[in-house]
Amino acid sequence: MLRKLFKFHGGVKPQTNKTQSTTEPIASVPLPDRLVIPLHQAVGGHPRPLVQPGDHVLKGQRIGGADGNLSSAVHASTSGIVRDVAQAVMPHTSGLTTLSVIIEPDGEDRWCELEKVNYRSTPPDELRDFLRDAGVVGLGGAVFPSYAKLKPGKEGKLKTLVINGAECEPFITCDDMLMRERASDMLKGIVAMRYMLQAEEVLIGIEDNKPEAVASVQAAIKASGETGIEAVAIPTRYPAGGAKQLIRVLTGIEVPHGRRSTDFGVQCFNVGTAFSIFEALEHGRPLISRLVTVAGNVTAPRNYDVLIGTPMDHLVRLAGPRPDTDRYIMGGPMMGVRMPGFDVPVVKATNCVLVGSATMFPAPPPEMPCIRCGECAKACPADLAPFEMYWFSRSKNFGKAQEYHLFDCIECGCCSFVCPSHIPLVDYFRFSKSEIWSREREKESADGARDRFEFKNFRQEREKQEKAEKLAAKAAATREKVATEGAATPAAADGEAAPKPKPSGDDAKRALIEAAMEKARQQKAQVAPKNTDHLAPDVEADIAAIDARRNAAPARAADTPDA
């Protein structure tokens, strides 16, 4: 049956460079001397560390616990000793550090006790908790916790489950090799996901430049006897592997920015994620390794099954990097991120370590002015007008940039790829987005500060008022008391005092004030020493100095006119 496919706007056709790394089967990697496992590897909250330096951990043991609404656990990739739980450089362009667990492998690679689960007999919520604690996240690059996506929409079921095997980025072949070598296991993972999502049909989208993968998946479907699952070859055009673009190609549905695809009856997972779900459910193995393509400036590009936390240079060494290597890129040449060093660890998001050199990926020619030729708009898979967004981003007119749907940009790089003026358009959009986020954070905290400041003023005002009222009430009561006493006494003594109640009232007031002042004096005398009992002599000296300053303060305050 030929399925009707849809087109997405734009897209480009860069050189795919995929054949080089698919000649050899997936290889394993010898244990490194040291694994650096960042605790925060997925979208969502930072997992809290569950181990301490000196602890012995087993392979698959949880070392970072999920924290908060959206968070995913992290596990030891092999058995060994925890050397440190400390800040380590993370695989991110910024070169910043993040809390990581550093493990020295003991060489035994011994698994901890693994807990399996039968997905058909387990309630969905428990299943999701299980996957969260198994650390399963999207392996296509977005690393969104999978458990959070394995929830059908409001209707309790889904029309289409899309499995993303498009792998449109040049050089990367880890999904291709997974589909070639592990199709039947991957398929079992897909069947489990279909069950959890109650999906009617499953479409596995694979770019037509991977005929072996298509054939392998189709054979696996046939062998399994499952129905309603189809492997669909789609035209090769970058970025067909973008989740939104792939959903569009297979179903014709466009999921807008900021909306959930389940609202449209679709959900999309990467093939690698399907495989790790299989591993977690069937064998109880948490996500501790993944397939990584090593390609680019190496003599033997290849795919490896790599433990999370393996330093990249340890891995790249196996593929024979050429001497002029000057950078590692995590991901492909279109969307990959430049690594701050060679020893950063492989993480769950690492689908490819692209080894680069100045000759392989030369710096772009000088940036010329935009001539508004519209090539970028023609290439944009999100139907945006990048040259307009560029103009507003460049002039830091962020409001306008947002009006032109800056946040619908998926940063696929097509615009920069085609620009005849060699403008790094995506850099401008990344800049604008991070600037807008930062301003929103600042505005939020400023608004919060303003509210709290105003509330404090209001509260102080209210307290003052309440105090004044209380005082007034008390004064009235006392005056009454004094007056009745005063009136009683003279009335008993002689009648002369009776016609002059006023002075007696004045006396009463004076007495009141004096009493209050005495009380205040006492209070004041009490305050300072109370706080400073049992202190070291030098601190007491400090306090004395401060007290002196404080006593001087009212005098200063009196000089300043009220604002």
């Binding site: 010329m368 030729c373 007008a385 003026s421 850099d427």
Partner: protein, 340 residues
């Protein structure tokens, strides 16, 4: 070191401009064939003036000369000026026009990519207002040999009125106006009869209609090369044809035929090479259609009722003014926000 993407398509402003220049070659060949090699001299003068003006301005503005002179954008402007000015315009007219375009209309607005108006058309309009006579004298096809043309360009004695006439477009309009006048000899003649003279060819002007065909061929090649899109040429030709058809259909004796309009003056040059200038033109697909249709209607109105021989230049400038508004109002819905 740069960020992703780390690979790029081999594309540059220079290659875009070079292809535009190549696309002008068929029309230039036809020009030379029918009107002699004088146009080549004009092209050379304009190119030299444009490069000199651009170089001087780049030096003053502290911009890298090698980078911007080799982008060829100044040469494209120069060629468009040479092709729209009369081939026998004196050299200083071409030089002044070119300098105006490059220095004032382009560089003073910020150089490449920053000019709100099409430099060649702005220069044409300024010069036709300043030198209406010199800008309206065109030789007929095959009328002047190369030496005479050189004399005229480099300032021998000018008795241009005696040897040259107006463009066919101009001539026909003058004739049509006379035909409408009861006192004129031409009174009562039909358009087809008026077009019987030596200046007219099959559709437009003799010779000039072949140049128009050259522009068409070059323009279609540019579409094939994905340098320009079909929107602007199609909308311009369509709207010009439709407006001409409307009035011609009502009064064929008083107005020129739609095909005459398409084949004459700057229609083809405008449709494929001038209005398609991305810097000063509309950029959204719907915007391009509106922009070009507007330009066509202005062109037709100016040609039929205005005081100048051709309307393409003025129409271009008028529509250039509207480009920001058109672009803003015709932004296409983005992914996921389409209504269908």
């Amino acid at each position: 070191m740069n960020n992703s993407p780390f690979v790029r398509k081999a594309a540059s402003v220079q290659s875009v401009m070079l292809q535009v220049l190549l696309a002008l070659v068929p029309a230039i060949a036809a020009y030379v064939w029918f009107f002699g090699a004088g146009i080549l001299v004009q092209l050379a003068i304009a190119s030299a003036a444009a490069l000199a003006g651009e170089a001087a301005m780049l030096a003053i503005r502290g911009k890298p000369k090698a980078l911007f002179l080799t982008d060829l954008s100044a040469v494209v402007t120069a060629w468009l000026i040479a092709l729209t000015f009369p081939p026998i315009a004196p050299w200083w007219l071409t030089v002044t026009g070119t300098l105006l375009a490059v220095v004032v209309v382009k560089q003073l607005y910020g150089g490449l990519g920053q000019n709100p108006f099409n430099p060649a058309m702005a220069a044409f309009c300024l010069m036709i207002v300043a030198y209406p006579a010199l800008m309206s004298q065109w030789p007929a096809a095959g009328q002047l040999d190369f030496k005479t043309q050189l004399d005229l360009i480099f300032g021998g004695l000018r008795q241009v009125d005696a040897i040259t006439g107006a463009t066919p477009l101009d001539a026909l309009r003058t004739a049509l106006r006379s035909a409408a006048n009861p006192d004129s000899q031409l009174h009562g003649l039909r358009t087809s009869q008026l077009m019987d003279g030596p200046a007219f060819g099959l559709l437009g002007g003799k010779g000039s209609e072949w140049i128009a065909l050259g522009y068409l061929v070059g323009g279609l090649w540019l579409i094939r090369q994905r340098i320009i899109t079909w929107h602007i040429p199609a909308a311009f030709c369509g709207a010009l044809f439709a407006s001409a058809l409307l009035l011609w259909g009502m009064r064929p004796d008083a107005f020129a035929s739609p095909l005459f309009h398409l084949a004459s003056g700057g229609a083809m040059l405008g449709a494929f090479f001038i209005l398609t200038d991305p810097v000063s033109g509309a950029t959204t697909p719907r915007g391009k259609l509106l922009f070009a249709a507007g330009a066509a209607i202005f062109t037709y109105v100016i040609r039929s009722f205005g005081a100048f021989p051709d309307g393409v230049a003025f129409a271009t400038l008028l529509m250039n003014i509207l480009v920001p508004l058109i672009d803003m109002k015709t932004q296409a819905p983005v992914f996921g926000h389409k209504k269908d």
